[in-house]
Symmetry: C2
Subunit: 249 residues, 2 copies
Amino acid sequence: MPSDTAKQADISRCEQCAIRHRAVCGALDPEELVKLNRIAHTRTIKAGSVIISDESAPSFFANVMSGVIKLTKTLADGRQQIVGLLFPPDFLGRAYSGSNPYFAEAATDVELCCFSHDSFQRLLKEHPGLEHRLFERTLDELDSAREWMVLLGRKSAEEKVASFLLLLAHRHAMRGCPHSTTPGAPCFELPLKRADIADYLGLTIETVSRQITRLKKADVIRLHENRIITVPHLEALAKIAGQELPPIH
Amino acid sequence: MPSDTAKQADISRCEQCAIRHRAVCGALDPEELVKLNRIAHTRTIKAGSVIISDESAPSFFANVMSGVIKLTKTLADGRQQIVGLLFPPDFLGRAYSGSNPYFAEAATDVELCCFSHDSFQRLLKEHPGLEHRLFERTLDELDSAREWMVLLGRKSAEEKVASFLLLLAHRHAMRGCPHSTTPGAPCFELPLKRADIADYLGLTIETVSRQITRLKKADVIRLHENRIITVPHLEALAKIAGQELPPIH
DNA sequence: CGACATGTTGAACCTCATCAACCGACGTGG
DNA sequence: CCACGTCGGTTGATGAGGTTCAACATGTCG
C-alpha cells in the first residue's frame, strides 16, 4: 500500500469525523492528527455491556462518537448511583490513573473511537496542547458533578426529573453545530430507561415514573411511545427544575 | 537589600513551608520555587467570610495552609449545598476559567498562600510540570465529588454522618507526614458547625444533631465540648458509613 | 403461548423535614 | 452587675415526600 495514499486516508478519516471539532482531538494540528489516527480504532458496543470496570487498569481511552455511557458506583449492598453521563463528543478514561474508581457501562448502543493506553499516553506527553484540552474538559466535568451534587442533596423529586429532562434537551441542542440555536419546541429521545434515570437522580423507579406522568399531565412535556419527548415550553420546564436555562454556547 | 540574601530568604521560606511537599508546588525545582515565592503572599481570613464569589473572575489562586474552606452553591430560594471542602494542602481556584461557578467561604479561620491570577498563569505556561500536577489534583477532586454523589443520592442520614466523620478522621490522619500510620483511636476537631455539616450532607441541622447523638449513645464516637471527636473503633464507624476504610497513602 | 423485561399505578409505611421550645455560652449596653 | 439578644446546638411532636411492596399492563422474544 503506497504510504502517500495511506496518509491521505488517515487525515481524511479524522477530518470527516462528525465530532472532530468538538472532541479533544480538536486541539491537534493536521500532522498530529495523522499520528492520532494511526493509533485509533473504532469500536461499537451493545447497550448494557460494561466498557470499563472498577479497580482494573483500563487498557484504552476513547471519544464517544454516538450513544450514551453511564458511569456508575455501587455500594456493598447493591444500591447504585450514576455519577456521570457521557454523550458525544465526550472523552472516556481517566488520564494518568492506574484504575478508574467506577464502572463505565453502555446505556445505549455506543460507538467509540479508541486509543490504546500506551500510545495515547505517549501522544499526551509529546503534545501539551492535548493535555491542556483534556484538563479543561476535566474541569468542566468537575463543574457538572458539583451541579449534580446540588440536585442530589437539595432538590425535590419533581425538580430532579425536570432538571434531568432539561439536561437532555440541552445536550441534544448541542449535538450538531455548536452554534446552532434551537427555535421551537425541543424534541429528543430518552436515552435511559427508568431504572437508570432513578440511579442518576437518587430516586426509585416508581418515583421517576410518577413524576414523569405528572409533568405529562401538566402538559410540560409530551411523551411518544415512552421514548420521544417534546417540550412545548422550555421555560416552564426550567422553572420547575428550579434553575435558569443553561446557556447554549 | 543584597539580592543574594534575598534569594536565600526566598528559597528558605518555601522550603520551610509545612505543606511544601504535598502542595502543588511540590512539582517545582528550587529555581522555580524562587520564582513562585516572589509572586506569593500569605493571607489570613476570618471564619465566615467569603473568599471567592460566584460569577466574578477570581483574582488569585492559593494553597490552603491551615483551616478549612467550603465551596457552596445556592438555589434561587436559598437552599444551599456544599460541593467541596478544602483542607491543607489543597489548592483553591479553577485554572483557566473566567469565573468560578460557586462560592468559596472560610469555614474556620484560614491561612492562604496566594498567587496573583496573572503571574500564576504565566508560571503555569512556563512549567508544564505544574500544570500536570494541578491536573492530577483536579482528577482527584473529581473522584471525591463522585464519591460524594453516591453519598448524597443513596445513603441514609446515619450513613451520611458516619461517612463525614470518617472523612474528617482520614484527612486528619493525613495532615502531617504522609507516611505516618495512625495507631490508636483517632481524635480530631470538628471544623464545621452543624449547619455546614447539614449543607454538606444534604440534610437538616436537626437530623445531623440527632444522628450525632445516636452515634454518641452507641459509643461509636465520643464528643468533648461539642468540638473534639474521638473514635474508639474506626472499623465500627466505617461499617456504619457503608464503606470500607479508605486507604491511608 | 409463556417467560421476561420495562413501565405504571395503588396502598401502606417510614425516614427525614418542619415547626417549635428550650438550653448554655457569649457579648454588649444600660 | 445583670438583663438582654444572638448564636450554636439539642430535643420533641407532627406530617409530608418518597420508599417499599404488590399488582397489573404492555411489548418482545424464544
